[in-house]
Symmetry: C2
């Protein structure tokens, strides 16, 4: 299998954490797509993923799988031992919901802020920017940190009692927040404590070392 990714991208990091959790990092060949040169927006790359985003998983049969959730569902199902996407119908549903919520409220919102209200990937790649929309999404992301903080006062993980793909999505949010210098507010104690605890997992600690700016 091949993964098209870029080492410091928050979305690619989600799939690398997933691969590490599934002990599959060594089974994958990584192909670098340079975000800063806009290689993910070329016609050639869009023939692999119409949406022009990273990461993309290429299977040995030539199938291209894009979207972190889709890739994670595939990888987690491969050996019949799902550890990240739920075993029961209820677990599957809640994990899907919380992963999507982490995306729309936090990770994707920070991404929009980055691409629209900061220089983003630079003028050659960011051919259209809507600064007001970017700032609006930044504020939405900040509100979501308080939501996740409240949630984590009541339960140990984003989707309930067990680590899942939803936790990895919020970690993606933390990674992007660090890139755009949008720190999680200090009063979000439960959220910050959860993030510290997440880093006890080797899969996460090792991938964070690749993406996060050193202090």
């Amino acid at each position: 299998m091949k993964i098209y990714d870029w080492p410091t991208g928050p979305y690619p990091a989600r799939v690398r954490i997933t691969l590490a959790e599934k002990q599959m990092l060594s089974k994958v060949e990584f192909v670098r797509i340079n975000l800063w040169k806009g290689e993910h927006k070329t016609a050639d790359f869009r023939s692999k993923n119409y949406s022009g985003t990273l990461p993309v998983l290429e299977l040995d049969d030539g199938t291209f799988l894009a979207e972190c959730t889709a890739i994670t569902v595939y990888l987690d199902a491969l050996e019949g031992n799902p550890t990240l996407t739920g075993r029961t119908p209820l677990e599957k549903g809640v994990i899907q919901m919380m992963t999507k919520r982490a995306e729309i409220e936090m990770l994707d919102a920070i991404s929009v802020y980055f691409h629209h209200a900061t220089p983003g990937l630079g003028p050659k790649v960011e051919v259209y920017q809507n600064r007001e929309w970017g700032l609006y999404q930044r504020d939405k992301a900040l509100r979501s940190m308080h939501y996740f903080d409240d949630l984590l006062r009541k339960q140990p993980f984003i989707a309930g009692e067990a680590f899942s793909m939803a936790d990895i999505a919020v970690i993606g949010g933390f990674i992007f927040a660090a890139i755009v210098k949008l720190p999680v507010p200090q009063e979000c104690k439960a959220l910050l404590a959860w993030y510290a605890k997440m880093q006890e997992r080797p899969s996460i600690r090792e991938q964070l070392a690749i993406v996060s700016p050193p202090h």
Copy 2:
């Protein structure tokens, strides 16, 4: 189970089509949340779904499930006979990807157009609008119709050889396109032929009769 929904909403229609496909419509009590009065944006409703969107499924144990994909994954897994979300790892992954693609490129893009570049749900509900962003998303949705048209020249369904949740997501796009009067271009012959074929399914024909403006 309860479903919080609104009869003419495109997203609620996706879950009602799913329920009809699974022969479960009669097992659900429907609770109306009036979109036009902004009842989905109240603090009470946000305690059920932080994102303030419809539909939401309430289980008998009090769990609230939001997000169409999450609800569909739950319902499709309930009786151990998945017919909409895939049986093999590859089917699951591709269906997840294509559902997400239908959302971000078409359905969600039309929703942003509706809420930001048209009167949307009216001035009391649309407390912030970004018209330029709405128009940008409208154009993105129009481009996606050509993408899906190309795709359907090569395969019978959105995710490949079988009907799935991804087809239902594109039907949601058609429903919203009708509401905002954004017709699918006539040259998208494969996409229009697919949509006509979709309406041979009773689940879809019956729900379209509820949501679609009569000609």
